[in-house]
Each structure stands twice: as C-alpha cells, then as structure tokens.
C-alpha cells in the first residue's frame, strides 16, 4: 500500500500536543465501539484530536460517522473502548457534559431553532444574565452586540440579528453555529457534514471558517463524505466503512487521489463493472466504470484492487 497508515499505538503514546507540548491529546478515542441492541454500529475506532489540527472523518452513508460524533458529543454512550479528554478517561451522560469539557458540536440539520432570532440562537443554552435570584433577566442588548461582533469577526456580514435564523442560507447558518461554538470557548469543534447541502461557493466559505477555527487553536473534527473538501483543510484522515476504520492517515502520507480511491472503494468499482458486463448493460456505462477503475488503480491502493 502506497499510503502509510499511522501506527496507532505509536500515535497514542508519543505524539505531543503542539501547543502545550504535553504528551496527551486534546481528545482521543481508543478502540471505541457502539451497538444498538444486536446491531453493531461502530467497532474498534481509534482517533486523536489536537489543538490547532483538523481531524477529518470520511465515510459513505451508514459508515458510522453519525454514531461516532454522537458518542463524542454526549448524545450516546460508547459500549467498548475508551474516550480520553486531556488524558482523562470520560464517558458523557448528556450533551451538557460534553459541552462542559469544551466539546461543541455543529450539527448538519439541528444546529439551530429556525423560528428564533439569530441572537437568541447564538446564546441558546448559555444566556447572559444580570440581576439576582428570581429577578435574573437576560442582558439582551449585550447579547445582540456580541452576536453581531462575533459574526463580523468570523467574516459574516449580517443584516439584522433580530431576523429569525431560518431566513439565513444554509452556509450562513453553519457559520453562525461555528461562531457560537468558538465564542463559547470550545476546545474541540465537531462539524457534522457542514458542506453536504451547500453549493460550491458556500462550501468554500464554510471550509474557510474551519481553517479560522483551527487557527484560533481549536481541535476540529470535520465529518464529511467529500474527500475534495476534507483534503485541503485536514491534518489527519480517518476513513470509516460499515462501522469500521479502514484507514487512518497523516496528511504527509497520503494524496488526494489516494484518499479518493480509498473512499470510492476501488475493489467495489471493479466488481460493479464486472456485474454490469454480465448483465449485458450498456457498453458506454461499462466503459465508463472501467475507466474509473483504471484511474483509481493507477492512483493508489493497488493491493486492494488485486484481490
């Protein structure tokens, strides 16, 4: 195999935190697994997240990406393996627990409450209050100002923070959610398919915010099924398939083409071409698939293709 897999034992023991130079990861998972009843959703997943690094989790639909982030975000608990935060073993009982140790998640679909104004969404769950006891009220003006300023810092030019957030575009909503996580001191930022529903330009904007969050020293977990989005921003790449890790690479050890080939599953493509031929499918489609097989074969992962 061209691409050199990260030796996972090595990684968990020796790699140092780039900012603090302590030999622990901001967040690390070792051999984590999860099953729902008798359905195994995730087995033996190992990954690490560090300050100022982007860890990409790639996989097709049903690969276990959602399960993985739900474990890290505290929505589900893992059944096997261990989860460490700053070297300390943790198991989150609720999203609040995860938030309290600085893990913030930006969900693809349920990041915000559409009917509520932007500033209310921005501070939802962490409202600023003033006053005492039962007379504690929200500091509305301050919250609005901070919202506007934080979004401006992220480069989002907002019309009106009183607008219901449902009126923003998908990309803008993602950015509000990212800005919110950054503002509330998140150390780990999980982004669940932030570019999945977006056009090319909007995706570019979101990717830029990912880099901004990284440059602010956050550890970012970027979940996606698009290697073209993952490769330019990622430092490490974890590939998932059917609930299992099929590869874990450092950026220096892998190219975009190899990543794409791994994602596409060269062996499966070859199989598909064969099947189509047997069925007597349209010649041009078969040719197309065969061309793609040849392309991925030349790009990387030859060992898998020969099998």
């Amino acid at each position: 195999m061209n691409a050199k897999q990260i030796d996972q034992q090595q990684l968990l023991k020796d790699e140092k935190d780039p900012l603090t130079h302590t030999p622990v990861h901001l967040l690390s998972l070792a051999n984590v697994g999860k099953h729902y009843g008798n359905i195994v959703a995730l087995t033996d997943v190992t990954l690490a997240v560090d300050n100022g690094r982007v860890t990409c989790v790639l996989g097709d639909n049903g690969a276990g990406k959602s399960t993985l982030i739900k474990i890290i975000a505290g929505l589900h608990q893992h059944d096997e393996g261990v989860l460490h935060v700053m070297g300390e073993e943790r198991k989150f009982g609720s999203p609040r627990d995860a938030l309290d140790v600085g893990i913030a998640t930006v969900y693809q679909d349920l990041a915000v409450v559409p009917l509520m104004p932007i500033w209310r969404n921005f501070f939802l769950g962490s409202e600023l209050t003033s006053g005492f006891g039962p007379f504690k009220s929200m500091d509305v003006q301050k919250m609005k100002d901070i919202t506007k300023k934080e979004l401006a810092d992220m480069g989002i030019d907002l019309r009106d923070v009183e607008q219901p957030i449902g009126q923003l575009s998908g990309g803008e909503r993602q950015c509000v959610a990212i800005a919110r996580a950054v503002y509330f001191g998140a150390k780990v930022l999980i982004l669940d398919e932030p570019t999945a529903a977006l056009g090319v330009k909007q995706s570019g904007v979101v990717l830029r915010y990912i880099l901004q969050a990284r440059d602010r020293g956050l550890g970012v977990i970027f979940i996606t099924h698009n290697p073209h989005h993952a490769f330019p921003v990622g430092d490490r790449f974890l590939l998932l398939k059917r609930g299992k890790s099929i590869g874990y690479y450092d950026k220096k050890d892998i190219t975009l083409d190899e990543l794409t080939a791994q994602m596409a599953g060269g062996a499966e493509l070859a199989e598909l071409a064969h099947e189509l031929e047997q069925l007597g499918g349209h010649g041009d489609i078969v040719k197309e698939v065969q061309a793609e097989v040849a392309e991925t074969a030349s790009a990387g992962a030859p060992t898998q293709l020969r099998s």
Binding site: P95, R120, L124, A152
Partner: protein, 348 residues
C-alpha cells in the same frame, strides 16, 4: 472574507427599509389585536350598553376567567405542547380545597395550599409522563382529562355524598380567601373583580419571563426544535415539565376563584373549558406546533372571547349564536395570523 469591513455603528442599509409598522406586523399578536379592535367597534356600534363602564368591567371579568388559564396555556403552546386536562383540573383544584377543609374541618387556607400542591402535581405528572413515554401531549392529557373527570365526580360523591361540594361559607378563613380570590375593587364607581388584576399581573410576569429571561429563551427553543435545544444544552425535560406546572398554577388560581366566588363547586363542571383556553391562545397568535407566540396574544384572545360572549347579550341577540361566532373568530384569527406572518417574513 475576513477582511470584509462591517459597519457596526451605522445602521445596515439592508435593514433600514423595515419601518415601525412592519415591525408591528411581525409581532405574533397583531392578528388578534386587529380582530379585537374590529370586534370592539362592532359591538360598540350596535349596542349602547356595551361601552358603559359597568359592562366593560363585566366583560373584563369574563375575559379574565378565561385569560388566567390562557396565560399558562399560551406558554405551554409556545413550548410545543398542549393540555386537554386544564378545564377539569381547575375543578379538581377547587374540589380539593373545599372537600379537604370541610372533611377535616380545618382552616380553609389549609385546603387552599393543598389544592396548590395538587394542581402543581397534576401538571408535573402530565409533563413527566409526556417526557418519559414521548407520547403526543394530545394522548397523555386526554387521558388525564378523562381520569380527572371521573375522580372529580367519584370522590365528591364518595366523600360529600352529592354532585357538588358542601358549602364552606361558614368556615374559618373563608372570608379572607374570598377577599383575595373573588372580591371586587371599586374603581370610579364600578366594581372590578380581583381576577382582572391577577390576570394582568400574570400576563406581565409571563411576558417578562418569555422575552427577558433565559427560561423564556428555552421555552421558545423547546417548542421550536426540541432536538436542537437539547443539543446546545437546554434542559428540555425540565422546561416542559415546568410549563405543565405553570399551567397547573394558573388552574389553581382559577379554581380558587370558582370556589370562593360562591361557596361550593359542581363536580361535573369544567368539561369543555380546556378548548376555550386553547382557542384564546391560538386566536392570540400562538402557533399550534410551538415555537412562536406571546403571552399578550393569549390575553387578547381571551379578551376577544369575553367581548363576544357578553357582547351578544348586550346586543340582545340570542346567545345560541355565541359558539358559531367563536368558531368563526377562531378561523378568521388563525387565517389572519397566517397571512400576516407570511407577509412579515417575506418583507424583510
């Protein structure tokens, strides 16, 4: 992108277009407000008695008996749930107070406090079952409604031996409780019932909570999208259970009024009233699906109800038509709300 200059100080040229009138139109209660004004002008023009101070006091009183409950029901509806047991829960509360203090011959206030505990517990149980089972609130509260209806009738007959609670007018504390829950204050020669002031106070507190506290933020959030709310750390269960208990609290106040306005309660009363409270909230612009609405809207809805209820009498029409008017009003108000909301959203 990061270098984009954002003019924070100067108003953004893209928002400047939105004038105060459009801002008003975007409020949830505007449809109800327009309806209330139209209705007021209409009844004032067909009936001389309608605008006399004494009549207005009566209308306000009628509105307040719906409005007190509508406050809680509106908040609950904004929080994404509704409660069908409110009508009979009011009677349960009143029956608890009167039967307990009568049976054990205690001071009436003991019964009143016990009734508060019972009302809050009913709310808590509603909310707790809802959160545990994740069934729709329609089913859960329908079940509570039926059970409370049966309990009201059954226990009253078992303890008191009749269909109404025994009179407690001669018992200790009755006069004091009556002075608080059911007496009138004289304003410019017109007696205004205490419930009107309680109602206004409740609306003010509810509006403050909704718009200016974090709990209010949570109420909007759990109604708008409970999953999103949970994911950002909002205590969804506690918020919803708290809302059901707030409804219970409102039910306690109204129950005490019903008890002390007379001195006994009919155990079969209250059935059907839950819809009046829901109607008031919906007319007032609360979205049935949650996440949108206001306490003031519910109050205006209750006022519309009061005006229509009494206005028909003052106009000397047959009260048989009242329900028809109520239905028509509900339909018109919700359609107006819908149109207004769409226009406000698109004209940003």
């Amino acid at each position: 992108m990061t270098q984009v200059a954002v003019k924070l100080k100067a108003p953004d040229e893209r928002v400047a277009k939105r004038n105060p009138f459009q801002k008003l139109l975007a409020r949830p209660e505007v449809g109800a407000l327009v309806g209330a004004i139209v209705l007021f002008v209409f009844f004032a023009s067909v009936s001389q008695t309608f605008i006399q101070p004494a009549s207005l006091a009566t209308i306000l009183y009628g509105s307040s008996t719906i409005g007190i409950m509508a406050v809680g029901v509106s908040l609950l509806m904004i929080g994404g749930e509704f409660d069908l047991s409110t009508g009979v829960a009011v009677i349960s509360s009143a029956l608890t107070a009167s039967m307990f203090s009568w049976y054990f011959s205690t001071n009436v206030w003991v019964g009143v406090l016990l009734a508060l505990a019972v009302s809050l517990t009913i709310g808590f149980i509603n909310g707790w079952i809802l959160m545990k089972t994740k069934l729709p609130s329609f089913i859960v509260t329908l079940a509570t409604f039926l059970m409370l209806t049966g309990l009201n009738l059954g226990l009253t007959r078992m303890i008191g031996g009749g269909v109404s609670s025994p009179s407690i007018s001669t018992m200790d504390g009755y006069q004091a409780a009556r002075a608080i829950f059911a007496s009138s204050v004289n304003i410019a020669g017109v007696g205004v019932n205490n419930t009107v002031f309680i109602w206004i106070a409740l609306v003010a507190v509810a509006s403050w909570v909704l718009l200016r506290t974090k709990v209010g933020n949570w109420i909007f959030a759990v109604g708008g999208d409970a999953n999103a709310a949970r994911a950002v750390g909002v205590p969804v269960k506690a918020t919803k259970i708290g809302l059901f208990m707030a409804v219970g609290f409102c039910g306690w106040i109204l129950g005490m009024h019903n008890l002390f306005a007379f001195d006994a309660v009919q155990s079969g009363e209250g059935v059907g009233n839950e819809f009046l409270y829901i109607i008031a909230a919906v007319i007032g612009g609360c979205l049935l699906t949650g996440g949108y609405g206001s306490a003031v809207g519910g109050a205006i809805g209750a006022f519309i109800f009061g005006m229509a209820n009494k206005g028909i009498v003052y106009a000397q029409w047959n009260p048989d038509w009242f329900k028809f008017f109520l239905g028509l009003m509900l339909l018109l108000a919700t359609i107006v709300n819908l149109i207004v909301k769409r226009r406000a959203d698109s004209s940003k």
